[in-house]
Symmetry: C2
Subunit: 165 residues, 2 copies
């Protein structure tokens, strides 16, 4: 079979293909899986909780810091731009899920904290989120999950060392 099939559909790797092509295919699969999962999370958050992944992410970060986070700390933890967080926190504040409280002694800064309502709402969302992931990744058993996590940790470390922040 000399058919050259370079379509999007899975093909066997040509025997003499350069390694870079194999890695490119690996990346494309990786990205595809990641986007599928993310898309479903977005859909469900919207359908079941009328919220979004970015808002969920902000609440997740705040839920780990009882004392609250400054805007700049929040954008640091989430690794997104400052201006970005401003808008998301604005919306969460309108919904009553977070509050901005002044930092005594520094009138520039503000702490963002979950409200009681926000904390309760996030608990519900997080439980659902975990169940969705559990369903989607149900094929991964304990041993495989652990080994993939190790492999991904190594990759992330490697990427970090190569200057990808």
């Amino acid at each position: 079979m000399s058919a050259r099939q370079d379509r999007a559909v899975a093909a066997e790797a040509p025997v003499d293909e350069p390694m870079s092509k194999a890695r490119l295919r690996l990346w494309l699969r990786f990205l595809k899986a990641s986007r599928m999962i993310e898309a479903r999370l977005r859909d469900r958050l919207r359908a079941e909780f009328a919220t979004t992944l970015p808002r969920f992410d902000v609440m997740a970060a705040l839920s780990r810091y009882e004392a609250g986070l400054k805007m700049s700390e929040l954008s640091g933890v989430l690794r997104v731009s400052n201006g970005n967080v401003t808008g998301i926190v604005d919306r969460l504040a309108e919904e009553g899920h977070v509050v901005r409280v002044p930092v005594p002694g520094d009138r520039r800064a503000a702490l963002v904290r979950l409200t009681a309502k926000g904390r309760a709402e996030f608990a519900r969302q997080a439980a659902a989120h975990e169940a969705w992931i559990d369903e989607m990744l149900g094929d991964f058993g304990a041993a495989e999950a652990a080994s993939v996590i190790r492999r991904l940790d190594a990759l992330v470390a490697e990427l970090g060392a190569k200057g990808v922040s």
Copy 2:
């Protein structure tokens, strides 16, 4: 926690932890790696080619279809909304990288095709893109890449079967 949550340091799994927590950790690592790679691709496309990942994706799709694609086919291939593609194609057309050509016999539709300029530009971008991926995933050898690709294909199939499109 999907996104950007980075509980920076890897924690050992508690012995009695429910499986869902292990899968959640797996997802968080997966997402983190994916976002790091994507962020670097975006940065480099911007710095070296003054373009974006969405534009690159559109050109990549068109480069596989010499004859061109209708707008709806394009959004189907890329799995994004119709309205989304309209704007990206508008910008690529302004840059002279693509053209909309009328479909004879159907005045509603238009074929989008790479121009000669667009084809040449994409060739340069694609070569650089492949090299960036090759560098970032350099730790993956042929055997490991192949096995991970198989695993991801299985995951994607499973997700598809579960209704994640």
